[in-house]
C-alpha cells in the first residue's frame, strides 16, 4: 500500500473519523478548516501515532506547522525521515 493511503486509514482510525471516506481524501486534503477540521489535540494524537509507527518525531511547534498542512506534505516528510 502506498504510504499516503496507509496514512489515510491510520488517521481515520486514530481520530475515530467515522464519517470520513478515505477514497475522498487526496494529497491536497487539508488538516484544518476546509478539510479534516482537526484541532490541536488531534494533531498531537497524530504526532504520537506517527512517531510510534514510523519513528518520525515532531520536535517542536514550527516543525509541526510545516508537516501538518496537507496529507501530501505529511506523507512526504514521513517518507523522507522514516526509520
Amino acid at each position: 500500500m502506498e504510504l499516503i493511503d496507509e496514512l489515510k486509514v491510520k488517521i481515520i482510525e486514530t481520530l475515530n473519523l467515522t464519517d470520513v471516506d478515505p477514497a475522498r481524501l487526496t494529497e491536497d486534503s487539508s488538516f484544518f478548516e476546509n478539510g479534516l477540521n482537526l484541532d490541536s489535540i488531534d494533531i498531537l494524537e497524530l504526532a504520537v501515532m506517527i512517531e510510534e509507527t514510523y519513528g518520525v518525531s515532531i520536535e517542536n511547534r514550527e516543525l509541526g506547522e510545516k508537516m501538518f498542512v496537507t496529507l501530501g506534505t505529511l506523507a512526504r516528510y514521513i517518507a523522507e525521515n522514516r526509520l
Binding site: L15, N16, T18, E45, V48, E52
Partner: protein, 722 residues
C-alpha cells in the same frame, strides 16, 4: 460573616513548614530538578517540582500523606476540630494505583485509596471533622476553587471552621500526560519569559484554616476577602487567547471582595510558563487593570506547577507576602516577554502589602481567582447569607433501562433498572462527529446535560454554570492511557486520553455545549459526589450564573470499576452506570424549593451523625410531617454501617412511611443518588413510589415529599418536594 485565615501549612519542593518555605520565597532560586521519584523506563527525564526526602507512612499514598502534613500544620494550636473540610486534588491515590495496575493487582482492598474523595475522607478522619467533607477536582484551578467554596460555607453560616487544602503528588499520568501534550519545557519552567517553552509538573500540598467572625479573631493572619469562578467555555485544554474567562474571574473576585483595581497591591499570577497560558493571562490582567497593573509575579519558577495544589500554595504565598511585607520575585524569567504587556517583578521587593489577588486557571477552561487581605482591613460580608434551595426547570436520568421516560416505564412495569445505560439511549442525544473523541463518562454526562436542557424547554434558558459530580471519574481514558504507556515501555500514549482522564473534562464539555461561562465545579466525593455538587451550588450560586446545570454520572468499566468501587460486588456480575442531571434555579424561599441539599456529615463518633442529621432536618415531627417516603442509598461495600445508620434514623424519627433502598433496583455506582434524585422528583409529582422499589402497589406519598438519604462513609440528606 467574614472568613479569617488562622492557620496555614505547606509541604512543597520549596520547603515543608512555613518557615522553610518563606526562606525559599525570599531566596528566589529555582528548585525545579530532574525527576527522581520514580524510574522512567523510556528515558524521558524532565525537570519537576518534587518534595525532597518525603516518605509517606506505610500504605498511605503520596497525595494523602502530603495533604496530611500540610493540614496538621494549619490545625496546630486549634483547640477544636474543623467543622468542614474542603480538598482540591486531581491525582488522589493514582501514583499508588499506577504501580498496582502495572503489576496487575486485582484485589479491591489494595485500591481503597485510589479516589480523589478518599483524600478528603482521610483528612476529615485525621482532623476529627463531623461536618461536610467536599472534594473538588477542577484541574489546575482546584486549589483556589476550594478557597472560594470554603468562603461560601462560612458566609452562609454552614461552617465556622473550615480546613481548605490543595494537594497533588507527582505521578506517571501527569508526568507523561503533559509531556505528550507538548506543554512541558525540558529546560524547566520560565514563566513570562520571552523564550518560555512550557511548564514543569510539580507536587505539593498546602492548607488554610479559615474561621468565621464578624471581625478578626485574635491571632488571625489574614482575611479571605472574596473569590470568583468562571469558565472559558472555549476548548478542553487551550485557554481562550483573549483571556476573557480569566478576566471575568478576576473581576468577580474583586467585586465579591468589595475591592477596587487600585487597591490591589500584588497579583500572584497562575504563570505556568506555557506560551498560551502566560499570553492569555497577560491579556486578562491588562483587560482588568488597564495599562498600570499592580506588582505581579509568577512563583512557579521556584517549585513548578503542583496542579491542584497550586492555588492553595499560592494562597499561602498571599498570606506570607502580606504578613511579612514583601512581593516574591518571578523566578525563572531572564527576559520578560514584551508581547505580554505586563512586566513581572524580577527581584523580591520589600514593602507593606494589604491586598493580594491570586489566579489559578485549569484545563476545561476553569478559572478561579482569590482575594486575600490583611486582617485589619475594612471588611464587609458579601455573598449568600444562607444555603440555597432550588426549583427544578428540567431533569434527565440514565439507568440500565435508558433515559428518564424509559426508566420510569421500566419501574412501573416492575423491572430492574440495573446494568450499564444502553448505548442507543446515550448516543441518541449526541452528535457523532462532534463527540468522536469522547469515551464513556463524557458521553454519559453530555447525554444527560442535553436531555435535561431539552426537558427545560423554551421556558428555561441555557445553563450559565455547571456543577458536576463523579465518584470515579473517567475510567476508560485513565485505563487506556496507562495501559498504552506501560505496553510501550513508557514511550507512547494518547494525549486525548490524558485530557479525557481529567475529572472535570465532562463539565468543561458541558460548558462548551451551552456556552456556560459562569462557575464550573467538579466534585469527586465518591458516593456523595452528587450531593456535594448540589451543596456547592447551594453555596456559590449567584444571579448571573443561573440557571445552573447540576449533574452527576459514573461509568462502568470492566477492569477498574470492580477494583476501585467495592460496592459493585453487590450487583454480582452486573456492572451498572448512569446518572442524573437537573436544570435549576435557586430560590430565596425554602418553601418554594423542589430540592434542598440540607445536610452533609462525616461519621466520626458512631451514630452521632444521625442525630445531627435529624436536627438539621427540623426534628422527628417535622420529618414525619414533610415526607411521605424515604429513598436511601446503601452502598454495598459499607452496608453494615449504612444499615446501622438507617436503623438509628428510623428509631430517632419513628418514621412511619415507606423506606426504600434504591441501589437494589438502580444499581451500585457512586453517583446513582443523582439518578435516584431525578426519579424521586417525578415520584413526588406523581404522588407515589413504584412498587418495584418496595412496599405495595399503592405506595401513596400522601401529597408529601421524599427524603433522599445517603449513608455509609459519609452521610447526606436532601429534601425533594412538589
Amino acid at each position: 460573616m467574614r472568613a479569617f485565615v488562622t492557620g496555614i501549612g505547606i509541604a512543597s519542593p520549596a520547603g515543608t513548614g512555613v518557615s522553610e518555605f518563606l526562606k525559599s520565597l525570599k531566596r528566589s532560586v529555582p528548585l525545579i530538578m530532574p525527576l527522581s521519584l520514580f524510574p522512567v523506563a523510556g528515558g524521558l527525564l524532565l525537570p519537576v517540582g518534587q518534595v525532597p526526602s518525603f516518605q509517606p507512612p506505610n500504605g498511605i499514598p503520596r497525595t494523602h500523606a502530603l495533604a496530611e502534613v500540610a493540614a496538621k500544620q494549619a490545625l496546630q494550636g486549634c483547640p477544636e476540630p474543623p467543622d468542614a473540610v474542603v480538598v482540591g486534588t486531581t491525582t488522589g491515590g493514582i501514583l499508588t494505583t499506577e504501580s498496582l495496575l502495572a503489576a496487575d493487582i486485582r484485589d479491591p482492598a489494595r485500591y481503597l485509596w485510589h479516589t480523589p474523595g478518599s483524600v478528603g475522607e482521610h483528612l476529615a478522619r485525621t482532623a476529627g471533622c463531623r461536618g461536610p467533607v467536599l472534594t473538588v477536582s477542577t484541574a489546575c484551578a482546584s486549589g483556589t476553587t476550594v478557597m472560594v467554596i470554603a468562603l461560601g460555607l462560612i458566609r452562609a453560616g454552614s461552617a465556622r471552621r473550615v480546613l481548605a487544602v490543595g494537594a497533588d503528588s507527582l505521578c506517571r499520568l501527569t508526568y507523561f500526560g503533559f509531556s505528550l501534550l507538548k506543554l512541558v519545557d525540558p529546560a524547566g519552567a520560565r514563566p513570562l519569559d520571552r523564550d518560555r517553552a512550557g511548564m514543569s509538573v510539580g507536587e505539593a500540598a498546602a492548607a488554610l484554616l479559615l474561621e468565621a467572625g464578624h471581625e478578626a479573631p485574635v491571632g488571625a493572619l489574614c482575611e479571605l476577602r472574596g473569590g470568583g469562578l468562571s469558565c472559558d467555555a472555549y476548548h478542553v485544554t487551550t485557554p481562550d487567547s483573549e483571556g476573557r474567562g480569566a478576566a471575568a474571574a478576576m473581576k468577580r473576585a474583586l467585586e465579591d471582595a468589595g475591592v477596587g483595581v487600585d487597591n490591589v497591591d500584588y497579583i500572584n499570577l497562575h504563570g505556568t510558563g506555557t506560551p498560551d497560558n502566560d499570553a492569555a493571562e497577560g491579556r486578562a490582567v491588562r483587560e482588568v487593570f488597564g495599562s498600570n497593573p499592580p506588582l505581579l509575579s509568577s512563583t512557579k519558577g521556584i517549585y513548578g506547577h503542583p496542579l491542584a495544589a497550586s492555588g492553595a500554595v499560592e494562597a499561602v504565598i498571599g498570606v506570607l507576602s502580606i504578613r511579612h511585607g514583601f512581593v516574591p520575585a518571578n523566578v525563572g524569567c531572564m527576559n520578560p516577554d514584551p508581547d505580554l504587556g505586563i512586566t513581572p517583578l524580577l527581584e523580591v521587593k520589600s514593602r507593606p502589602l494589604d491586598v493580594v489577588l491570586s489566579n489559578s486557571f485549569g484545563f476545561g477552561g476553569n478559572n478561579a481567582c482569590l482575594v486575600v487581605s490583611g486582617p485589619t482591613a475594612d471588611g464587609r460580608s458579601a455573598g449568600l447569607a444562607s444555603l440555597r434551595g432550588f426549583r427544578v426547570l428540567g431533569s434527565a436520568c440514565l439507568s440500565g433501562a435508558g433515559l428518564l421516560h424509559e426508566t420510569m416505564a421500566a419501574l412501573e412495569r416492575g423491572d430492574d433498572c440495573r446494568g450499564a445505560a444502553p448505548d442507543t439511549a446515550v448516543s441518541c442525544r449526541l452528535d457523532a462527529a462532534a463527540t468522536r473523541r469522547l469515551k464513556r463518562l463524557p458521553r454519559l454526562a453530555l447525554a444527560l446535560a442535553i436531555s435535561a436542557r431539552e426537558d427545560g424547554g423554551d421556558t428555561a434558558c441555557s445553563p450559565r454554570s455547571v456543577y458536576f459530580g463523579t465518584g470515579l471519574g473517567a475510567l476508560s481514558e485513565t485505563y487506556d492511557f496507562l495501559a498504552r504507556l506501560f505496553r510501550t515501555g513508557e514511550k507512547f500514549s494518547s494525549p486525548t486520553d490524558f485530557v479525557g482522564s481529567l475529572h472535570n473534562a465532562p463539565a468543561g464539555l458541558a460548558a462548551i455545549q451551552f456556552g456556560s461561562r459562569g462557575a464550573n465545579v467538579t466534585v469527586t466525593g465518591t458516593d456523595d459526589s452528587f450531593e456535594e455538587a448540589l451543596y456547592c451550588a447551594g453555596h456559590l450560586s449567584r444571579q448571573e450564573d443561573e440557571p445552573i446545570l447540576c449533574l452527576a454520572a459514573d461509568e462502568a468499566h470492566g477492569v477498574l470499576s470492580p477494583r476501585i468501587d467495592r460496592s459493585t460486588q453487590g450487583d454480582g456480575p452486573v456492572l451498572s452506570d448512569g446518572g442524573g442531571a437537573l436544570l435549576l434555579e435557586s430560590v430565596d424561599d425554602a418553601n418554594r424549593a423542589h430540592l434542598f441539599p440540607t445536610f452533609l456529615g462525616f461519621p466520626v463518633r458512631g451514630l452521632e451523625v444521625i442525630q445531627h442529621l435529624v436536627r438539621a432536618l427540623g426534628g422527628a415531627a417535622r420529618i414525619c410531617e414533610q415526607f411521605g417516603g424515604v429513598m436511601v442509598g446503601i452502598p454495598w461495600a459499607v452496608r453494615d454501617t449504612a444499615n446501622e445508620q438507617l436503623s438509628c434514623f428510623l428509631a430517632e424519627t419513628g418514621f412511619p412511611g415507606l423506606v426504600v433502598d434504591y441501589r437494589r433496583v438502580l444499581g451500585q455506582y457512586a453517583t446513582v443518588s443523582a439518578t435516584a434524585c431525578v426519579l424521586g422528583l417525578h415520584f413526588v409529582r406523581n404522588g407515589r413510589i413504584p412498587a418495584v422499589l418496595g412496599g405495595s402497589a399503592e405506595n401513596s406519598l400522601g401529597g408529601k415529599g421524599i427524603l433522599l438519604l445517603g449513608l455509609g462513609t459519609k452521610v447526606s440528606a436532601m429534601a425533594v418536594h412538589r
